[in-house]
């Protein structure tokens, strides 16, 4: 790829972010910053019980509070057929409860008042009478005969949601029967929550005069949400405008449609006034899309020399009260079947069963391409357990089994075609950077002295960038994505995409793609996303799909513009198109570089001096359907020291080598890696949404749901290898989620490695000091 000048700022330049100027001055425009004339506020009444029959709702006292305008209950919504709404995965969910509640903090009524304090006051006065029902918390008991059936609305009188399997069971079972060595691990990827710093919320503004509904909302997928509002609410889609303004982090949490949004829309339709609804943090953690909650068993079968022959996986997925996973429709367990990892073996079989429990609904992809995080964690844990079983170094075992570079495109035993990879190169770089051999020596010496130190390795593979459309859709909408570029007469441009940044820096990186392809300086390119009235249709930003899909669309749209620009240049230079050559920013006549026209000259001509037979203007749109997914990868190595007295784990070093193909902005890529690793650190050591036996949320506020601060977070060491995607127009692969996908296994492997000589094979996350201390006590290391 031709490198552009720093002034143009195309691919590979660490240009500073265009979006930053407003944020550093406090001039961002997040949903809660929106203030419309005559705006009122909504507040949800929520259930204190995890499972209870609704006996009655009395709103009389609440209605008497001065300033209260409306109180909406499930019964009211039922009259408009809106008490339930479809989830993004073949299920439905109550907007406001009717009949009974199924999880603690479930939405029961919506109070609208002139200001947010009054709405909250009045919500306290809504009297709801409940009759408690037996609670189902443990997913392993979901299908027990004695367990309560949670979903009375379903025809199937069972808490079982789905069974999904993939792979060759017979061949895999045979490989296990014949295997010389077997290893297994039961690993729970705990329920956690993405907890973006901005909670979810919206301002719904129905204009009675025009019949138009504008919804400003915290949405990672504004176009899809507009279509769903049209389909479910029966409002003509041209009369709905969804605007996703600045988003304060998403991480998958802002993909689903939540009851609060729907209530605000209903209230605005009812009152004809703008209605704002903003979650509190507790509401966000307790009721919106959780992630993971995968209870997994992995087995590996291998030869005596460590060559893996087969993998077998059985998983129980806890989806809570409603299956509100946001996943492509053909994949009930998302892309979990990437669980065979970076390794080459012929046989695999994977099965997943989903169940209901009395917990918040979800199963969303938290900084993750649809369950790839669970999958990467599982295989990277399993391979360490196998190494322990074989008494070999985990590095050697990985290297023995890596898919060789010459085998790409590689067909995995569970059906994916990996586009490109060079796993050993990434691993070697990580080993060199961390000084692996030296660390192992240090560990041996420390063990002799009774000190605890561990080295954890994770050589993960991701699968991101869904489409292709033939295989991937969400709620029926194909997973293409789009870009539209308009070049103005003075050579500046605006582009709009179907995706939506939540901090990833799209305003900068997409501008760099345009700069790369058209030679228009990135500084002259405005990127605008999130307004469904102006942006072309797309499925939004999650699953690391922005660069793989909309980024590709941007490149292709720019190339369409370049094709037209060439015609105009030929006209201006009075030559034939064949005589022209391109360098970023201009066309010149072959052999006569002095005879040239810049893209700015051409843009002006596109409006002022148009060749005969050509349309005026210089713009293009592209709806890009990727031919395959992309498969970013890397090797992460974590070094930990454990305090025997307290069980505290200190991350001493963390080396992250990532390969995301060609890089658009190295500074932004590194920023994504730092952030994802920090989320991985939180997941490995802190983050847990737990429930007690009555279904009370443990972890429902930042008092109990711990996130890493700057103090616990180590200094991250990053490096790259580059194996471009062969099918992406820019050779890029996507990166935002890699660090969150790859790092949990590195942290856990490091802790287990530190304790392996004591016979420890596995510890479930989050690895709290207490958990480690309890193990040390059990093993007799401390008294």
């Amino acid at each position: 790829m031709q490198k552009t000048s720093p002034e143009i700022g195309g691919m590979g330049h660490s240009i500073k972010r265009k979006e930053d100027l407003r944020f550093i001055q406090g001039k961002g425009n997040y949903v809660d910053d929106i203030h419309l004339p005559d705006m009122v506020y909504g507040h949800l009444v929520r259930s204190p019980y995890a499972h209870a029959r609704l006996k009655s709702i009395n709103t009389d006292k609440a209605k008497q509070v001065p300033g209260v305008l409306a109180i909406i209950t499930g019964e009211d919504l039922a009259k408009a057929n809106l008490a339930w709404m479809p989830t993004l995965f073949f299920d439905k969910q109550m907007v406001l409860a009717t009949g009974k509640v199924l999880f603690q903090s479930q939405e029961v009524a919506f109070v609208v008042a002139e200001d947010r304090y009054t709405a909250a006051d009045a919500a306290e006065l809504v009297e709801v009478e409940y009759e408690e029902l037996p609670v189902l918390v443990d997913p392993h008991k979901a299908t027990d005969p004695g367990s309560p059936i949670l979903r009375e609305d379903r025809e199937e009188k069972s808490n079982h949601i789905f069974h999904w399997e993939v792979g060759d069971k017979a061949a895999t079972d045979k490989a296990f029967r014949d295997a010389a060595v077997k290893a297994n691990v039961h690993a729970v990827f705990q329920r956690c929550h993405p907890a973006p710093l901005e909670t979810c919320g919206c301002v719904a503004d129905f204009n009675r005069a025009t019949g138009r509904l504008t919804i400003y909302m915290t949405s990672q997928a504004p176009h899809a949400h507009r279509t769903l509002f049209a389909l479910v609410g029966g409002i003509p889609e041209n009369n709905i405008r969804v605007v996703s303004p600045d988003i304060g982090g998403g991480f998958g949490n802002k993909v689903p449609i939540y009851p609060g949004y729907v209530c605000a829309v209903v209230a605005s339709l009812t009152l004809g006034r703008p209605v704002k609804w903003i979650e509190t943090r507790s509401e966000n953690l307790q009721s919106t899309g959780f992630a993971r909650d995968y209870h997994m068993t992995a087995e590996l079968a291998a030869d005596r020399d460590g060559k893996i022959q087969a993998m077998r996986v059985k998983t129980l997925a806890d989806h809570g009260a409603f299956n509100a996973a946001a996943q492509p429709t053909k994949f009930p367990a998302g892309l979990f079947s990437i669980c065979t990892g970076a390794y080459d073996y012929p046989n695999a079989f994977c099965e997943v069963d989903g169940v209901y429990t009395n917990k918040a609904p979800g199963g969303i992809a938290y900084r993750c391409s649809f369950r790839v995080t669970e999958a990467a964690y599982l295989i990277e844990r399993a391979i360490d357990v196998l190494a322990q079983e074989l008494k070999v170094d985990p590095v050697a075992l990985r290297k023995k089994n890596f898919i060789r570079p010459e085998k790409f495109p590689y067909k995995s035993p569970l059906g994916w075609t990996f586009d490109s990879g060079n796993y050993e190169a990434a691993m070697n770089l990580a080993l060199e950077k961390v000084g692996y051999q030296q660390l192992r020596k240090e560990q041996d010496e420390k063990r002799k002295k009774g000190e605890l130190m561990g080295i954890g390795i994770s050589s993960f593979v991701e699968i991101v960038g869904a489409g292709p459309a033939h295989t991937f859709d969400i709620a029926g909408i194909k997973m293409f994505d789009s870009a539209e570029i308009r070049v103005h007469p003075t050579g500046k441009a605006i582009c709009r995409m179907g995706t939506k940044s939540q901090g990833q820096g799209h305003e900068t990186t997409y501008a760099q793609i345009v700069a790369q392809e058209l030679g228009i300086p990135a500084a002259d390119v405005t990127v605008e996303e999130g307004d469904t009235d102006t942006a072309p249709y797309g499925l939004g930003t999650y699953a690391s799909r922005s660069t793989p899909v909309s980024g590709a669309a941007t490149a292709v749209a720019a190339r369409k513009i370049r094709d037209k620009a060439k015609k105009i240049a030929a006209h201006l230079l009075e030559c034939s198109e064949e005589d022209l050559e391109w360098e970023p920013g201009k066309f010149f006549v072959k052999g006569a570089p002095g005879k040239s026209k810049t893209i700015q000259d051409i843009a002006f001509a596109a409006y002022t001096n148009i060749p005969e037979g050509l349309e005026a203007g210089l713009e293009a749109v592209d709806y890009y359907d990727p031919p395959n997914l992309t498969f970013p990868f890397g090797t992460y190595i974590c070094v930990v020291d454990i305090d025997k007295g307290t069980g505290e784990v200190k991350v001493r070093r963390f080396v992250a080598v990532d390969d995301c193909g060609n890089v658009i902005n190295p500074m932004i890529v590194d920023g994504q890696i730092h952030g994802g690793l920090t989320e991985g650190l939180g997941i490995a050591f802190m983050q847990l949404i737990d429930y007690d036996e009555s279904g009370n949320v443990q972890g429902g506020s930042f008092m109990d749901y711990l996130l890493p601060t700057a103090v616990e977070t180590p200094h991250w060491e990053t490096a790259k290898t580059c194996t471009p995607s062969p099918h992406h127009p820019l050779g890029a692969k996507g990166v935002g989620e890699s660090p969150n996908v790859g790092s949990p296994a590195a942290f856990v492997n490091a802790v287990v490695d530190a304790l392996a000589h004591l016979g420890v094979k596995h510890i479930d996350m989050p690895i709290t000091p207490w958990k480690v201390w309890a193990i040390l006590k059990e093993k007799g290391v401390v008294n």
Binding site: I24, H35, P66, L197, G503, H674, A710
Partner: protein, 162 residues
């Protein structure tokens, strides 16, 4: 509704006053009465620090104070960092060192860092990490925020803005 009371304070060098309910939180006063929406709300337990402002030279979490408690005080919010159209070195540092992504924690981070640098002109990495430990960021992993504060410390050491 309790009787409204007068609150008077200096906000970003400007005298402001308003009649407010005694229970009105300072953060809502700043955002909704004064219309300064750079100060954010990220939690309800005073853990996240997105609402951090500087009150009489000290950082406070404005979600944990009533507006009336700020009566007679001097308040600095993120909007007040820019002087004569010139970005504060911290603002510059956050941009230059990629110290922000979604931007939601940024105003709070800036205000905590501002007070840190007032007290400690040459903070070590550890000082900075402790100095911003009351502010959560979900995007950056803090590393570039540390660099941003170091950038500002260096620039202010050379006689840049105070």
């Amino acid at each position: 509704m309790a009787k409204k009371q007068l609150v008077r304070l200096k906000v970003n060098d400007r005298e402001r006053e308003a009649e407010v309910e005694p229970r009105l939180l300072l953060v809502h006063f700043i955002r909704e009465v004064l219309g300064l929406t750079g100060t954010h709300v990220g939690c309800d337990t005073s853990h996240c620090g997105a609402c951090t402002v500087v009150l009489d030279g000290k950082t406070v979490k404005s979600c944990t104070m009533f507006a009336l408690q700020a009566d007679g005080c001097e308040l600095l919010t993120v909007e007040g960092l820019i002087k004569d159209g010139q970005l504060h070195p911290l603002q510059e540092g956050f941009k230059e060192e990629h110290g922000l992504q979604c931007g939601f924690c940024t105003p709070g981070m800036l205000m905590s860092s501002y007070v840190l640098l007032q007290k400690n002109k040459k903070p070590t990495e550890d000082d900075i990490r402790w100095g911003i430990s009351g502010n959560l960021c979900r995007c950056t992993g803090y590393q570039n925020i540390v660099k941003a504060v170091q950038y500002a410390a260096a620039k202010m050491g050379q006689g840049g803005a105070k």
